[in-house]
Symmetry: C2
Amino acid sequence: MAKRARIRDIAEHLGISTATVSRAISGKGYVREELGEKIRAAAIELNYGLPEDFAGKRVLLVVSHEAMIDFERSQFTMYVLEGLRRRASERGLVIDNHAIRSADELDGLAELARASDLLGILFLTVDDSILKPARSLECPVVLVNTDDPEMRLSSVTPCNRSAAAMAARHLTDLGHERIAFLTKPGRRTIQRRLEGVRDALGSRQDTMIVIEAEDWTVQAAQAAVAEALADDRQFTGIVAAGDILAAGALIALHAAGLRVPEDVSVIGIDGLPQGAYLAPALTTVSIPMQAIGAYSLDMLCNTAQLQGTSRNFPVSRIELACSLTKRNSTGLRASRVVEPV
Amino acid sequence: MAKRARIRDIAEHLGISTATVSRAISGKGYVREELGEKIRAAAIELNYGLPEDFAGKRVLLVVSHEAMIDFERSQFTMYVLEGLRRRASERGLVIDNHAIRSADELDGLAELARASDLLGILFLTVDDSILKPARSLECPVVLVNTDDPEMRLSSVTPCNRSAAAMAARHLTDLGHERIAFLTKPGRRTIQRRLEGVRDALGSRQDTMIVIEAEDWTVQAAQAAVAEALADDRQFTGIVAAGDILAAGALIALHAAGLRVPEDVSVIGIDGLPQGAYLAPALTTVSIPMQAIGAYSLDMLCNTAQLQGTSRNFPVSRIELACSLTKRNSTGLRASRVVEPV
DNA sequence: CTGAAAGCGCTAACAC
DNA sequence: GTGTTAGCGCTTTCAG
C-alpha cells in the first residue's frame, strides 16, 4: 500500500513550493487561478487529504448470490460496486466479497465479525430476511441500497421516493394527465417509487394506472405494456420503475405503432448508461450509483471510528438526491388524444 | 472566543506530557488504563479534537414565527435548538436567530446569504412555502426537522415513519389488534407517521381507525378521543402522532371511565420529558431531538467545507433512528374485549 | 509505562 | 503571486 499523499508530494509533482499548494487547497491567500486549478486536479489525482486512515483493514461485502448471477437485474449493483471499490482503494481498504444464497448462510459471519482487522460489514441489495441476523452482528454494519424499516441498522440509499416523484412531475409538467406506472412489485425500494409517483400526482392520482410486469426484465415489461395497450387502457405517459422496464415499454409502444414521444412519453428511473442508446434515447431519473457505493464506505468508516468511543455514531439513514437526465423519450402531450373513459 | 483546546492544554491541565496524551487519545502505544480514562475524560471536557474549525463564523437560524410563539406546539423545537446551540458553542459558531412570519420575508435573506462570515443557513421546522426561495439561496442550506420532497435541499430529520411503525408494532406485540391512530393531519412529518403505522399493521391495516383532532393540542385530542368513544369506535390501543395528543387521549379515556393500560393502551411519539409525569407515565417513541440539532450543524459544516471544492457535498437527507421509551401506558390487551363490528 | 526530544505535515509571516 | 522560513500541533522514537 503506497503511503498516503502529502502536500509535499503534490508540490514535488508539480515542481512548486508546499506553501503554494497549501494556499491553493485551503483557498486562503493568493494563488494564480490557473495554477490553483492544476494543483487541485493533482490533489485529486494523487488522492490527497482523505479522512482517517484505516489502511489495510478489511471490509466484508455481502451480496446476495442472486444479485450477482443475473446480469440484467444486477447492472445497477455493479455500478454501486464500482464506486465502492474506487473509494476503498482511495482509502487503502481491502474488500472481501462474500456471496450468500440465503439468510442461513449468515451463520459464519458472526465469527468473521470479530476479526480484529475487520472494519465492518456492508450488505449490498440484500433482502429483508437477512436483517434479523445482521442486526445481531457485533461489528459496524451498513446496508447499501436497502434500508432497515426498524431503523436498527444504518443505510445508504438513493431517495427512491423523490426520484419517482421527479419522474412523474416531469410528465405532468409536459401536460400529461393520464400516467401509467410500469412496475414489478416486490422490494421496498420499488414500493417507495410508487409512493413517489403518488406524491407527485397528488389529487390526480386516481387517474393513474399501474401496469405490473411479471418480472424485472425487458421482455416482461414489453408484454405487460402490450397487454395494457390491447386492453385499451388510457395513458399518454409512462413512468417506469426502472430503465429496464422502460426499455420494454419502448419496444411495446413501437410494435403497437405508437410514436415516442409524440404519442406517448416514457421516462425511466436508474440512469443506466445504455438508456442513451435506446430509440429514442431514454429520458430518465439518474441515481448516483457510484456515490452510493462511496458513501456507504464512508458511513462504515464513521461508524467504526466512533465505535467504542463514548459517543457512538447513531443509527442513521442517508438518502442521496437523484437528477433528471433529459433525453428524447419525453415530450409535450399532443397527438394522442385520450378520451375520458 | 476561547482558542480551541490543544493536546498540550490537556497535558498541562493534568500535569503530564503531551506524548502520553497523544497515545491515550489515539489508542496506540501503552498508557496506564486509569490514566487513559482520565485523559479521555479531560479531552471531552475541554472539547478537544472537534472537526475543522469555523470558529467565529455565523450560522443563520431561520424559524417560523409560529414555531416560536406557541409554546405548547414548539417544545419539540426547543429541544432541537438546545442540541443545536450546544454543538454551536463546541464548534465556536455564532447562531443568529431570524424569525419569519411568511415566505415573503425571505427576500432579505438572499443578501445576508452572501456575507463572507456566514457559514450557512439552517431552516428549522418551516413549512413548504419557504422551500422555493430557500432553494435559490447561494450559501449552504440545511433543513432541520423538515425535508425537501424534491430533494434539492439537504435535511436532517427523525425517521418519522419508522418511529410510528415502532409504536404500532409495540402495540401489536402486546396483542392489540384494533388500533387507532390519533392525529392532526397537516405537515409531511405527520403524514410519514401515518405511513409508518400502516407499514407496521401490514395486511391488518383495514382494522385501523384514524381519529383526527382539530388541532395539535391536548384539548383537541381529548375532544376527538371522547367523540370516538361516544361513537363507540372499536380499539384497544392508541398510537398518538405526538405526545401532546397522547396526553389528551389519556384524559379522555380516564373521563370515560376506562383504565390505561388495562382497558386501552396508549403510546405517543416524540419523547417529551413531561410524558414521564402523566398518569399513567406515557410509553412513547423518543426522537433524538438534541442529536437532530447537533447533526444539522454538522451537515452544514460538511457542506460548507466542500463548497467551492471540486467535489461538492451532494444533496442528501439524513434520518436518525428513534427508540422506544417503555413506561406504564401500554400493556397486554386483556380486559376490554372488543367485538368485531 | 512515561517523558524528552526529534520528526512530520501543514500554515502563516514575510521578502521579493 | 510565489518561495523561504519559522513555528505549531501532533506522533514517533528512544532511553529509562
